[in-house]
């Protein structure tokens, strides 16, 4: 119980950090903290494989991706007045109501089995145990999700893919050139003359 409380406090602290830091980098790092805490919590919940995956994929790969993008865009702080000032108090009130309602509902939960026997059935959530389920009952979603990953990779590439410019020299020399990159190159483009 002590472990749980510590972890819970850490997780909540990380979550609050995520939403309150102005800087995107701090935010992301706070979230990493929360994710690592959750990984530890997975261990206490006898989900060892998930815990390691959480660390590697989530806290590792995904968050690194986030950090890359944040640094790539290198955006300054949000400027200007909030056009929706009323959202913040309403959101906090709604969030508290939601948390209270969900938590209240959570305590209505009646354990369907004896916790010890149920825990034993998990076999510690080792990769072998998970793999057996994944490749039997979850085979179709597993394969489907692999295709989905492939599609996502291709989609991400095509989304951020730089449009092949016909004339890179023009693009670098003239602002008009990007607009006219697809126009007839033989046309009497003043920018071209300048180039």
């Amino acid at each position: 119980m002590v472990v749980f409380v510590i972890l819970a406090v850490l997780a909540i602290a990380g979550a609050i950090g995520t939403i309150s830091f102005k800087s995107g980098i701090y935010s992301a790092l706070s979230l990493v903290g929360t994710l690592l805490t959750l990984a530890m919590m997975y261990v206490t919940l006898h989900a060892q494989f998930l815990a390691s995956v959480q660390v590697m994929v989530y806290a590792g790969a995904i968050m690194v991706l986030f950090l890359f993008v944040i640094m790539l865009l290198n955006e300054s702080q949000m400027s200007g007045a909030d056009p929706l000032p009323w959202v913040q108090p309403v959101a906090i009130a709604g969030g508290i109501v939601l948390a209270a309602a969900l938590a209240f509902t959570a305590f209505q939960f009646k354990a369907p089995k004896n916790l010890e026997t149920a825990t034993a059935a998990l076999q510690g959530g080792t990769p072998g145990a998970i793999g057996e389920t994944l490749f039997t009952k979850f085979l179709l979603p597993f394969e489907a999700v692999s295709i989905l990953l492939l599609i996502a990779a291709i989609g991400a590439v095509s989304l951020v893919h730089r449009q092949p410019a016909h004339n890179e020299a023009l693009e670098t020399t003239s602002e008009h050139a990007t607009d006219n990159a697809y126009s007839d190159e033989t046309s009497s483009n003043p920018a071209k003359v300048v180039a």
């Binding site: 929706l84 939601l98 309602a101 209240f104 209505q108």
Partner: protein
Amino acid sequence: MDFNHNLFALMPVLPLLGWLVLIVWGKNMKEPTPGILASSLVFLSFVLAVVGFVQVSPMKEPLLNTLRWDFLPMWVSDAKGVLVSKPLQFGFALDHLSSIMTLIITGIGFLIHVFAIGYMHGDKGFSRFFAYLNFFIAMMLILVLADSYPVLFIGWEGVGVASYLLIGFWYTDVKNSDAARKAFIVNRIGDAFLMLGMFLLFMTFHTLNIHEINSSFGSVVIPNVTTISTGIAFGSPPLELAALFLLLGAAGKSAQLPLSTWLPDAMAGPTPVSALIHAATMVTAGVYLVARSHGIFANAPGASSWVMWIGALTAVYGALSAIAQTDIKKILAYSTVSQLGYMFIAVGSGAYWVGIFHVATHAFFKALLFLSSGSVIHAVGGEQDVRQMGGLREKLPTTHIVSLIGTLAIAGIIPLAGFFSKDAILSSVFTSPFGGDFSGYAIWAIGLIVAFLTAGYMWRWYSLVFLGTYRGHAHPHESSSVMTVPLWILAALSVVGGFIGLPHFLGKNVNWLEGFLEEAAPNALGFHEIPLWGELILIALALAAAVGGILFSRWIIARDGVNSAGWIATRFGNASRKALFVDQTYDIAVSAPAKFISEQLELADTHGLDRGIGALANGTAEAGASLSVWQSGFVRAYAIAVLLGTAILVGYLALRSFA
């Protein structure tokens, strides 16, 4: 053999094919080609009609085509009251009656097609014209070959469409398209009644097959006859009502009172059209319908006497209106109305072969007269006012001779075609079983007066066009042989056409037509017998009326010259020239109130409905605009709605489990 049975069904198919070809490729054809194609297809149909005639002559039953398909799903309750499917088949039947009609349609139609090759020379719509003509022939053949009322109705509507298209053929002139619309609309009124009649017949007989209905009467019994005080017998009510509906339908197509007003206006179309559709064939469809439904009308004495009366009134109306007309075609148009009235008298009297007899002879001489006037119009450069004609006897010798033959034929001079058919009508109405104590004789007297008037106005027509000296300014010239040859053929038919229905007293089997139609359209029962001398007196009176009419007309024209109509006008106050004010009456009684109602409705529409709908639309738009505040475009505004909704739902669930 199968092939022989189906051969006659090709008759409407051929012109339909011609229509299709001409409407699709006609524009690419050089001038005489569409005319020749159309004419030859109609000629082929005519050959088929002759073959069918030969085939059907010795038969007692109608010839039915074996290729037929289910065309209207129908359900009939059987003896136990269970609905059984009895689909109506699309099929043709060729019996003696329709055989005569197909001969008239294809024969006269062919001649008019040939005439039109010359008449329509140089017209922009040359191929379109022949496409329409072919379409008309096809539809008319479907009409007469139909073995059931719905199939007949297809042809009935089809000829209406063709008539509409051809009246408004020169549609760039608004007068012509108005006339076309008028014809179409007035015809619709009749068609609505024809449909009502069909419904009623289906209710009564559980079938719409014409031959089944006719044979269901047997040959003797008139069911449920009651005699009321006028002496006119009445059949069973549904039968009488159905017959009356059919009569109104026929009146629409055949331009009988009160639906007669479209026919004179229909002369706006090219003259071959007037000859073919509005004189020889389509307008006789009403007569054909009554003759075709002879079983119903023979057993509906009340409706039959209505047919006679409507015919008689129309005949006298048309004749009176024709007297003072000045348009060469309008005179013939009113004459057609009058002669159609004659045909209705004949079929109303129960002597159906007489009606068909007059259809045939009238087709000959009226087509002849129309084509002659077409030839005249062609010669004098489009002039249609008879006061601008005259003296064309020398300039158009052929046209003159055939016109004289036509005039004498329609006037009823012995031994031309019109004499025999008119005499047959007058004697049949005199002896009709549906005449009662009084009607038959009264209608006979009206018929006699009409005969007198017919001879009069036709002689006026003839003398104003051909006699005297030329009063116009054009340089008349005789038409080409492609136009005169059909005239000669029609003239010959007008001379000898009457011999197919010689009076009885000349011998036992001299009346070929009556014998021929004995099975297909037998006379109603109960004609009176009149002695030989009585019949001779009737004939003498008819002849006297005709001769008297001509002599009277001669006298008036000799006295008043071109303005002979003025004599009428001063005495009848323009009544004749204005066609007895029927059009004006319609204007006052139907058009004006309709216009008034429409105007009021329009006011209600603009001020009531439009405003109401507008207010509704504006209200909706405003409500939408006020709601569009929510669509602020801010993601977080949408998201908070989701959050609050979720919080409320989950909160509710939590509270419910708490309670």
